[in-house]
């Protein structure tokens, strides 16, 4: 037993030393300004951390810390407004709207401080967006091409009996694609994006439908033929480009929904100039290009010139972006709890 104790104390001291080193580390960086922001992982994260962030750090002589541990919102909510956890928040539109309502991010970005705002498409700074949508993807259908079924043309095709038992969507309370699809059901079967009664009825008709909690699950389901059609954004299909998978993207005739990647600044940030510079940086054409092409997102800066194969499929012209449908997230978030309760009842039954 004496062996155990000396080993334990040895490990304890090593552990303490390791912890001390970790605590000591930030002190080194106090000499340069630090920008705290968020970033997705995977391929996106690779490009950000490998290319984009180092380039920004070099040009602006600073350090950027990116948080990849989603969820970001509750963390931001739990820090005081004058000492926010993030200086720049990159997340989807639904969360940005809630953040605005709670005063955690700015309602509008300043065109004076972020000159590149002048070069983006209208949708990127529309009144449906708070902050700026630096990228977007189009939500339509992902479907399998080897089932002998024609490509879906309308949002209504999801209810087609030939897809029975093989259609997929999302767990609505946690997934914004699912939420947008719900609103779309209101538009297709009812009076508009806010016609919830029609949406609920339509959802009832779609049962049984397999529900996933994020797009990766849907991609996997399509790839393994667990579903033959599913609500998915174009990026989710195009990223398998070159791998010869029997899946394709279909943009329904009624229009595609816009899944925006939105950047915004927190009011309490201590490095406001740097934060503005960062958002401006993300909007630069030479920065937008590699990010777009890495994950097949459509860039929002009009001046971006994508390579041919991306240009063909992504939404990179005025005509194409006109097809993007944006929803009223402020309206949805206000009713979210009731909607979630109703949805769960409908689907559980």
């Amino acid at each position: 037993m004496t062996r155990n104790f000396s080993r334990r104390s040895f490990l304890k001291t090593t552990g303490a030393a390791a912890a001390a080193t970790a605590i000591g580390a930030p002190a080194v960086h106090a000499q340069v300004p630090v920008l705290k922001t968020t970033a997705w992982g995977g391929k996106w994260g690779e490009v950000m951390k490998g290319q984009i962030i180092p380039a920004f750090e070099k040009e602006f002589k600073c350090k950027v810390e990116t948080d990849s541990a989603f969820p970001y919102y509750p963390k931001l909510q739990s820090t005081p407004k004058n000492a926010p956890l993030y200086d720049v928040l990159h997340t989807n539109t639904s969360e940005q709207w809630q953040a605005v309502v709670e005063g955690l991010v700015e309602p509008k970005l300043s065109a004076k401080d972020i000159p590149n705002l002048a070069d983006v498409y209208d949708y990127a700074v529309s009144d449906k967006i708070c902050g700026v949508s630096a990228f977007t993807s189009a939500i339509g259908f992902g479907y399998r091409t080897d089932k002998g079924l024609a490509a879906p043309k309308s949002w209504k095709d999801l209810a087609d009996p030939k897809y029975s038992g093989a259609r997929g969507s999302y767990i609505i309370p946690v997934n914004s694609l699912g939420q947008m699809h719900l609103m779309m059901l209101g538009k297709i079967y009812g009076k508009g994006l806010t016609d919830l009664d029609a949406a609920y009825k339509a959802l009832e008709q779609l049962k049984p439908i397999k529900m996933y909690d994020f797009t990766g699950g849907m991609e996997k389901a399509l790839l393994s033929a667990e579903v033959n059609i599913g609500v998915l954004h174009d990026s989710g299909i195009y990223r398998y480009d070159g791998q010869n998978q029997p899946i394709a993207f279909a943009a329904p005739s009624e229009g595609v929904l816009s899944l925006e990647q939105v950047w915004n600044i927190t009011p309490g940030t201590k490095v406001r100039e740097l934060a503005n510079a960062y958002v401006n940086f993300i909007l630069r054409p030479d920065i937008q290009k590699p990010l777009s092409e890495a994950v097949w997102y459509s860039p929002s800066n009009k001046k971006v010139k994508l390579d041919a194969k991306y240009d063909e499929k992504l939404y990179n012209t005025e005509a194409k972006v006109a097809q993007l449908i944006q929803v009223d997230w402020k309206w949805y978030n206000e009713r979210k709890d009731d909607i979630d309760a109703r949805i769960t009842r409908i689907l559980r039954g």
Partner: protein, 292 residues
């Protein structure tokens, strides 16, 4: 088993509880208190100074049968998972405890631990691969002609229970192994010497003596099963709603920390009550009045 004379004074070794107490006060009671506090406020005071005291979150919870159903479903899934984990875990623990071969023992130990180390997300993906309509089991079943349509093994409580049992059986096994291993084999042999069959010796000697282990293992598995999130979400889809899923939704997607806190408080209180009751009942059964 003889008991030494009961000492009514608190023994000095009671001070050994101090580190645990300190850890819990600082890192559990305090944060939990904060969370419980949040559940009575209309917002997060950190980011929003104008919050008021409210019962709103609790009223909402008890008003809607949706949340009550979630609580019941959570407890039910927990109980079923525990029962099955016990039935599956006991034989394996018994084998491991009685195994003489050191290699065999190490091999079984690794077989038991390995599932836990795959990582919760990957492991649940693996179950999805096995249970889904086009997954391994259904493909094999249709190929062997055992089923015409895919069996609904997933997106229901069945799939969730299978996934949870798989994750928590190792905990049951490892808890039981130590206890069963401590049982004096000569007691069993004595019973057999007196004419009892192996099964009867097991039922009347081994099983009762391993009751503390059964208690400990069941409590562990139950507690874990009712707080599980990843597995019910990935294997149950929208068709199964447990409290942890609700809590997670509220925290990460519904921006509703107060309600999440209320759900957490209710889950904890109900679970603690159940655990305390279970502890007491089984404690009486084993005749142990001193230790939980």
């Amino acid at each position: 088993m003889e008991r030494s004379a009961k000492r009514h004074r608190v023994s000095p070794i009671a001070w050994a509880i101090a580190p645990a107490a300190l850890l819990f006060v600082l890192f559990f009671i305090l944060p939990f208190g904060v969370m419980a506090g949040l559940s009575f406020l209309s917002g997060n005071p950190v980011s929003n100074p104008n919050v008021t005291f409210t019962w709103r979150h609790y009223i909402r919870l008890f008003d809607s049968d949706l949340y009550f159903d979630a609580l019941v479903a959570t407890m039910r899934i927990g109980a079923v998972t525990t029962g099955i984990a016990l039935l599956i875990g006991y034989p394996l623990a018994h084998l491991m405890a009685r195994m003489h071969s050191r290699i065999g023992h190490a091999a079984l130990l690794m077989a038991v631990i390995a599932p836990l180390l795959t990582g919760i997300v990957v492991r649940t993906f693996a179950w999805m691969t096995l249970l889904s309509d086009r997954g391994v089991i259904n493909t094999l079943a249709q190929w062997l002609g055992l089923a015409e349509k895919p069996l609904a093994l997933m997106y229901n409580e069945f799939g969730v229970v299978v996934g949870l049992v798989h994750i928590y059986v190792p905990f049951m096994v490892l808890t039981l192994v130590g206890v069963i291993g401590r049982i004096d084999v000569t007691l069993e042999e004595a019973a057999r010497g007196l004419g009892a069959s192996r099964f009867r010796a097991f039922l009347e000697v081994t099983l009762p003596l391993s009751l503390p282990g059964i208690l400990a293992g069941s409590l562990l598995v139950f507690a874990l099963a009712i707080s599980a999130y990843v597995t019910p979400v990935l294997l149950g889809g929208n068709n199964v709603l447990t409290l942890p899923m609700l809590i997670y939704q509220q925290v990460s997607a519904s921006f509703n920390l107060g309600f999440a806190g209320a759900l957490g408080v209710v889950l904890l209180v109900v679970s603690l009550a159940l655990v305390f009751a279970y502890n007491t009942i089984l404690g009486r059964l084993t005749g142990e009045r001193q230790i939980a």
